[in-house]
């Protein structure tokens, strides 16, 4: 059996394989560098950055659910300046693309951060527009097409030549409307899905498990939602980083068939540090079995009824 090529392109960025470590589950790579060479990955999307350091939410921050987890970390991070000074140089020791995920309180803050990240030479910027603590309140940036477009426009104007990818929230009625709005505003790529809002209650104490009551659902439970949304959004025509419940080659291939150029592995890393490599190997096996010369041929190759 021949070896299919694993290289893919995402918004013009060459990845040696389609597997990306998802933001928030992989820190800045340091912990997982104990287990394997980070250069084995296509890209690392770093822990969500904010302009100032954030200490995050009070615990408990995690609850297990059927085939999933709820999390409520609250964007704990050392701030963009500490990332640029301490974490980016570490990641640059590896032959792996670096995606910087960022959240701002205002469009201007997104712009300022994009400028810093672009000047520092990150490979791709991912805008998190479903941050729970933004000016307009709640998930507003990610749930209103006009606000999503405004953030995208300001980010693009400050990102120089660095491509900008917008991470979409699934907590909306019409994800295509948001996707179209950010595409029209100049986004270079889309990533989806962010977590689904959820809740788990301890029946004995009648208390939610999470200290903030609600949190974001991820893991295999959300895969069908992610596949459906990637498929719907693919008609917008932007390159897509698919995520949501990827745990093996099959789940990754589903997202690619639905339209994703690359896939991110998140929750699966929590249980198994080697999960991204297993997804990569699983994808390669599927592409080989199907006689493809390149794994990229899976992208959008769905045969819908």
């Amino acid at each position: 059996m021949h070896e299919p090529s694993m290289a893919v392109k995402l918004a013009g960025v060459e990845l040696k394989n389609p597997v990306v470590a998802a933001s928030g589950t992989f820190g800045f790579g340091r912990e997982y560098s104990q287990f394997y060479d980070l250069s084995e990955l296509g890209a690392i999307c770093v822990k969500g950055l904010t302009a100032a350091p954030r200490k995050g939410n009070p615990p408990p921050r995690i609850a297990e659910t059927p085939m999933g987890i709820l999390n409520s970390v609250g964007l704990q991070n050392p701030g963009i300046d500490a990332f640029l000074a301490q974490e980016l140089p570490f990641l640059r020791r590896y032959d792996v693309k670096v995606i910087a995920n960022l959240s701002g309180d205002t469009p201007e803050e997104y712009g300022q951060m994009c400028e810093k990240l672009s000047q520092a030479g990150v490979d791709l910027i991912e805008l998190n527009i479903s941050c729970p603590n933004v000016k307009a309140g709640g998930l507003a940036y990610g749930t209103r097409p006009d606000l999503a477009a405004e953030v995208t426009r300001v980010a693009k104007a400050h990102a120089g030549a660095t491509p900008v990818m917008v991470k979409l929230s699934p907590n909306v009625t019409d994800v295509v409307a948001i996707a179209q709005a950010v595409a029209d505003a100049g986004a270079d790529a889309l990533s989806l899905i962010n977590t689904l809002l959820g809740m788990r209650i301890d029946v004995a104490s009648r208390r939610p498990i999470l200290r903030r009551n609600t949190g974001g659902l991820s893991g295999p439970a959300v895969l069908p939602v992610a596949v459906r949304m990637v498929w719907e959004v693919s008609r917008v025509g932007l390159p897509i980083l698919g995520m949501g419940g990827v745990s093996d080659g099959d789940s990754a291939a589903q997202l690619m068939l639905a339209g994703a150029s690359a896939v991110a592995v998140g929750t699966a890393c929590l249980a198994d540090p080697y999960a991204p490599l297993q997804v990569r190997d699983g994808l390669r096996d599927i592409a080989a079995r199907q006689g493809l010369s390149s794994v990229a041929q899976l992208t959008g190759a769905i045969q819908p009824w």
């Binding site: 928030g24 589950t25 992989f26 820190g27 340091r30 912990e31 997982y32 560098s33 104990q34 287990f35 060479d37 250069s39 822990k47 200490k55 995050g56 939410n57 009070p58 615990p59 408990p60 921050r61 995690i62 609850a63 297990e64 085939m67 999933g68 987890i69 999390n71 970390v73 704990q76 570490f90 020791r93 590896y94 498990i209 893991g219 295999p220 929750t267 890393c269 929590l270 249980a271 198994d272 540090p273 080697y274």
Partner: protein
């Protein structure tokens, strides 16, 4: 390329065979694993293993190392059944293999040959046996349980603690009627300067009370904390522990053992 060069701190993921699994009189379980090299990596008592608990559980379960032997490649865990994951674990058969990640976290810092006062409550008791056996000094144990029926590992603590074992139960069915902090105060009062420190593991209210007694007697105190955990290696940041500087430390990587004065007990 590996950035993590120090062999003694290596974290491994291994398939470890269950060599022994029996239920203790108290209802909790003792399990011995053929460690596939993990025992050799244990740096201190109080570290933990992160175990996959069957196909139905997405997350691993963190379980404190009770004792270990690098020479014999063994790790012993003592755990209680708290939910579906640990129930699955208790139903394994000898000879089956488990997916184990570890050793993880920072354990108790012990000066070789020094005497420590070990203070445990309930299922927090097992890791202190590792302190008594591996620490090398003459330790004393103060162990608390809800009632006599929940008491565990007493004989082994008796053998490993030349300073003796003092017991407390909430219902008075064994030893002192009340909480361990009263016994800790008695020990520190009657043996000033004897202990290099107090090492404690148990429910948070117990730890808070013990930390407060230690502060009063100006004795160094280390506490082992619990929090709902994700990755176990410090990447996902869910197992947050409020610290006195107003921020959060993480139980899996910065702990589970912390200097008591760094913990924000009022959070």
């Amino acid at each position: 390329m590996t950035v993590w060069g120090m062999v003694w701190m290596q974290i491994l993921e291994r398939q470890c065979k269950v060599l022994e699994l029996t239920q203790l009189g108290c209802g909790d379980w003792t399990m011995t694993l053929e460690s596939q090299g993990l025992a050799e990596q244990v740096a201190a008592p109080g570290q933990f293993l992160h175990l996959k608990c069957g196909p139905g559980q997405l997350l691993r379960r963190p379980i404190s190392i009770c004792n270990w032997s690098a020479r014999r490649d063994l790790i012993r865990l003592v755990f209680s059944v708290r939910g579906e994951g640990t129930a699955w674990l208790s139903q394994r058969q000898v000879g089956e293999s488990l997916d184990v990640l570890g050793p993880l976290g920072k354990g108790f810092s012990m000066k070789s040959g020094a005497s420590y006062l070990l203070v445990g409550g309930g299922i927090g008791v097992p890791p202190l046996l590792g302190c008594a056996v591996q620490g090398g000094g003459a330790c004393t144990a103060v162990l608390g349980f809800r009632s006599a029926r929940q008491a565990m590992l007493l004989e082994e603590f008796g053998q490993a603690c030349p300073g003796g074992v003092r017991l407390a139960t909430d219902d008075g069915s064994l030893g002192h009627h009340g909480f361990v902090d009263a016994l800790v105060a008695q020990e520190l009062e009657s043996h000033p300067g004897l202990y290099a420190g107090v090492l404690a593991c148990g429910p948070k209210p117990m730890l808070r009370a013990v930390a407060s007694v230690c502060a009063r007697y100006e004795v160094d105190c280390q506490v082992s904390l619990e929090e709902r955990m994700g990755c176990g290696v410090g990447a996902c940041l869910v197992c947050a522990c409020p610290t006195v500087d107003g921020g959060y430390a993480h139980v899996c990587k910065d702990g589970p053992v912390f200097p008591a004065q760094e913990v924000d007990w009022n959070a």
